[in-house]
Symmetry: C2
Subunit: 209 residues, 2 copies
DNA sequence: GAATTTATATGAGAAATCTCACATCCGGAA
DNA sequence: TTCCGGATGTGAGATTTCTCATATAAATTC
């Protein structure tokens, strides 16, 4: 496969292929589980997963939906986190898996890879900053508007409400409440099993705060 | 100053001193302002600052209180953020300032520095993940307990309520409400201008969820 | 020192959000 | 097919949190 060669040349200064393995996870399968200590770096090349954590009070926080191309296991490589999150495949997921334990010395000396990693982690941090402050400053109404726009394909929105609630950090009940409000205001409409965006401009205005 | 030399040897493979400058900010002074594009990396060696952002609806989110040793301007160096945050000195702040524009080529090739940067950014991201999910899953009661323990020195808590409210992402009114609750339950007591922690164990239990 | 701002404090009522209860619908497993 | 767990939807009432008004104390400015 020369896709691998091209890709590995782009991200690494050294030949990473000896430490590389291709791997496929089926829907529902765990890439990382709470309490596990991965020794690998997972490059998601195809598919979609979800990252979440469960709290002592039983609530689940859905952190993100990584989709190809993305990187999983970076925080664990940097040893800033120790198995506090779950990563689970949503669709069939293809990975290029780097045995980071075996090639850690090379990784630590590879400016090309490290620059990529810095950018990757920093981008995630910037997203989190934004999510965190928006969540502190606005009610669900505004956040949901942004989420509808972000998670819809064209005018169609078809996410599981259970997942959306966990992602937005509100109760299922309240999510349905605000969705009903939007419907009543003519911003969205239900069509069979999914929703259709009727007034994109109004949602964008809400999302912008 | 050989403190600088020692420090620069620890973080950089190349001689960073030609690009280095020492700088002091007085309390209240801005290190970064909203809308500015810093071309520098600020190593906080002494003092304490605050990072915040203001939303369109007027609310202020206090993100963190960087204290020495810490790093400011890293996200901007990596170009994942463009002047959306304010950083303001709380106490007199001493910095070692690297002119990152002039030495960007060296920085991008320096695995020692990049490894440090990765770790730094990743640690911040891990903190944010934790903050974000805890905030989604628990009411102020629990978060405040954690904050009191974190922000107190010994048994004494003496933070500005205005700042605490912005940091915790709740209204001033509500913060006072829950503080009064804690007082009534005998967890804390007011002593002059400050508070004293009476029942650390109970607070720890609350903080743990 | 007077004036002005900023922080502290508290009340009342409204809005946002949560919990729990219950009904329906659908897809997969036996 | 039947059964069952999960997802959807809705109601009622409780809890958390917000907004606004108001008052005083402390700090800053002039």
């Amino acid at each position: 496969m020369d896709r691998i060669e091209e890709w590995s040349r782009e991200l690494f200064s050294f030949d990473v292929r000896p430490f590389l393995e291709e791997r496929i996870f089926t829907p529902g399968e765990f890439i990382l589980r709470e309490g596990s200590f991965p020794q690998h770096l997972y490059f998601l090349t195809q598919g979609r997963a979800k990252i979440y954590t469960t709290h002592k009070n039983g609530k689940v926080s859905l952190l993100s939906f990584p989709a190809a191309p993305d990187l999983i296991g970076d925080m664990e490589l940097l040893e800033v986190r120790r198995g506090s999150l779950c990563v689970q495949a949503l669709t069939r997921c293809h990975f290029w898996v780097v045995d980071s334990r075996r090639c850690l010395p090379q990784l630590r000396e590879d400016p090309k890879f490290l620059w990529f990693l810095c950018n990757h982690v920093a981008r995630r941090s910037a997203r989190q900053t934004s999510t965190l402050t928006i969540q502190q400053a606005y009610p669900l109404r505004n956040q949901l508007a942004a989420f509808l726009l972000m998670a819809s394909e064209g005018d169609r929105y078809r996410q599981r409400h259970t997942e959306a609630a966990e992602y937005l950090g509100v109760s299922y009940r309240h999510l349905l409440y605000v969705l009903a409000q939007f419907r009543q205001e003519g911003l969205i409409a239900r069509e069979g099993g999914e929703y259709r965006i009727l007034d994109r401009a109004a949602l964008e205005a809400l999302a912008a705060g």
